[in-house]
């Protein structure tokens, strides 16, 4: 019997197809355009004339838009791209080929992670351009506010965009895990957003598990703290707009953390999906 080993090539092909499908969908274009126009339009806020802190305001707004629209895009795209395969029966044709279910899940994940990456790259690029241009004009208007010349560093802006993407990559893995056992797209989207909220508040659950009033409350909080990642850990670039460098050792640290969760959630999604009836 000819053996069919696990193939990254097949997973990559499925991922490429997923990315192509997403890029040809209105949802992706809509959210991307919305976020891009917000960042580009932020130039219009110069009337408020914050002086030097304006750069931080612009950076906050840009990365805030990336986090907000990126999260919406990631949850919606994961649910949509997964269930379009199931509901349109394209998964039937695909899984009738010599394709492992793990390849299907990995391929879907790679495609969605690529969608989030394209989103973050485009927004980071635009934001960097907006910040660079505004910093240039502020340098001319208020040279005394910039005694050492330009304060923003492109590498830090890229690192901040990368950390945003890492968070979206973890969110995509968890949403895919939900999709692997969920019966409907709506359930997946709603649960995906709940996961997003819980992950942002996970640190509070950790606190409560240590200092809760009752044993029951401590146990529930401890379980939440254990089951969900801490998304506050991805707040490494809060002051990148104020010229504060992103510490690269922390970026590496949080990358390991994100990778751990992506691998675990992905493996559990494969486990959950392997017996799913198509």
């Amino acid at each position: 019997m000819t053996r069919v080993p696990f193939s990254f090539t097949r997973a990559r092909l499925i991922g490429q197809n997923t990315l192509l499908e997403a890029s040809r969908q209105k949802l992706f274009s809509f959210l991307l355009l919305l976020a891009l126009s917000l960042v580009a339009g932020a130039q219009g806020f110069r009337d408020f004339n914050f002086g030097a802190p304006e750069l931080k305001f612009l950076a906050d707004l840009g990365y805030g838009a990336m986090a907000f629209f990126g999260a919406a895009l990631t949850v919606a795209a994961t649910a949509q791209l997964f269930f379009s395969e199931i509901e349109n029966r394209t998964a039937l044709t695909l899984l009738a080929k010599p394709v492992w279910r793990a390849e299907f899940i990995l391929g879907k994940y790679l495609g969605i992670a690529a969608v989030a990456a394209v989103f973050c790259v485009l927004l980071t690029g635009l934001l960097a351009a907006v910040l660079w241009a505004r910093e240039g004009s502020l340098l001319t208007e208020f040279p005394e506010a910039f005694p050492h010349g330009r304060t923003l560093h492109f590498a830090d802006l890229v690192a901040a965009g990368y950390v945003q993407w890492l968070k979206l990559a973890v969110l995509a893995a968890f949403t895919l895990l939900v999709a692997s056992f969920s019966q409907t797209q709506l359930y997946t989207v709603v649960t995906g957003f709940f996961v997003l909220v819980i992950c942002h508040l996970q640190y509070l659950a950790q606190d409560a598990s240590a200092r809760g009033d009752s044993v029951f409350a401590r146990a529930v909080a401890g379980a939440i703290g254990l089951l969900f990642p801490n998304f506050q850990l991805f707040n490494l670039a809060e002051n990148v707009g104020a010229g504060v460098a992103v510490p690269w050792d922390r970026v590496a640290h949080v990358s390991v953390y994100a990778l751990g969760y992506v691998v675990a959630a992905g493996a559990l999604a494969v486990y959950s999906f392997r017996k799913r009836e198509i």
Binding site: M1, G64, L177, Y203, L227
Partner: protein, 283 residues
């Protein structure tokens, strides 16, 4: 290749089975992952948390019911706060004092991390709102000067209270102390308080040297020239060599020595080779 088919599954189908075992595996897997990754999370989280005192849910209490709760819970503090700030600016242009005041509180409740919300907020309270209140009372020409002063002082104290609140989120921040000193000097005309605040500003990490010079200047204005001289003599060796500001400080030292008639033998002598440029370690 075997011609005999292998038994696929003997009795009960997976879909008839309860989903419970799968759920147990998923929850167990996530718990195990959480426990393992806690080893990665804990060291970084301890550091980040210490750096971000703003990560407290109690500060969002004021924002509850303002339609921003979901944004906060979803971790989108920054963007919600930014839009609140933009909205605040519209109200500021309309000189709507109560609404501006509410949004100033809201914006820092939503996201107390950006310093400029606090600093600009304090300026609006101390300077703009004073002008609005005087204009509402009939304008600078018709409102008696004493009342103008009283309004200014009231607003200045409110602004300082905001800055004190900011300092609980941003301890050891020079910009907040500079802002406080400016308000104390320009609105309250409290030179002693301003002198103390400029000194505190200089003592914070990264505190500007001009704050130290202003501290000396205000001491001089208060007639505490000897104190001002001692301060500048202590300051000068810590300033960068060849800097214009370093020369200005030396000039002021000489002026004060002249005013205080310090004998040439006891006058200040800069360290050989100029000041080392290091800031005092005790700050």
């Amino acid at each position: 290749m075997s011609s005999r088919p292998v038994r696929s599954q003997s009795t009960v189908s997976a879909n008839v089975k309860s989903r419970l075992p799968a759920l147990v595996v998923i929850i167990g897997g996530l718990a195990l992952t959480g426990a393992l990754l806690r080893l990665v999370e804990a060291p970084l989280w301890t550091v980040l948390r210490a750096e971000q005192p703003a990560l407290r849910l109690d500060s969002t209490g004021a924002a509850a019911g303002q339609g921003v709760t979901l944004g906060l819970l979803g971790g989108f503090r920054a963007i919600v706060a930014d839009f609140t700030w933009l909205r605040l600016h519209v109200l500021w242009e309309q000189r709507d004092l109560p609404a501006t005041d509410t949004l100033l509180r809201l914006v820092t409740a939503v996201d107390p991390r950006p310093l400029y919300f606090w600093v600009n907020g304090a300026r609006i309270i101390a300077f703009d709102m004073t002008a609005w209140r005087i204009a509402a009372a009939g304008g600078y020409d018709s409102v008696p000067e004493a009342r103008q002063e009283r309004i200014g002082a009231e607003q200045a104290r409110l602004a300082i209270r905001r800055l004190e609140e900011a300092m609980t989120f941003h301890p050891a921040n020079a910009a907040l102390w500079v802002e406080r000193a400016n308000i104390e000097l320009n609105r309250l005309h409290d030179v002693a308080a301003a002198a103390a605040s400029y000194r505190r500003a200089w003592e914070q990490p990264g505190g500007p040297d001009y704050a130290a010079r202003l501290h000396a200047e205000l001491l001089k204005r208060l007639g505490r020239k000897a104190e001002a001289l001692a301060w500048l003599v202590q300051l000068h060796p810590q300033l960068p060599t060849g800097d214009e500001a370093t020369e200005i400080v030396l000039g002021r030292i000489r002026d004060l020595e002249k005013d205080l008639q310090v004998p040439a033998a006891r006058s200040y002598r800069p360290p050989p080779g100029g000041p080392p440029g290091a800031k005092p370690g005790g700050r």
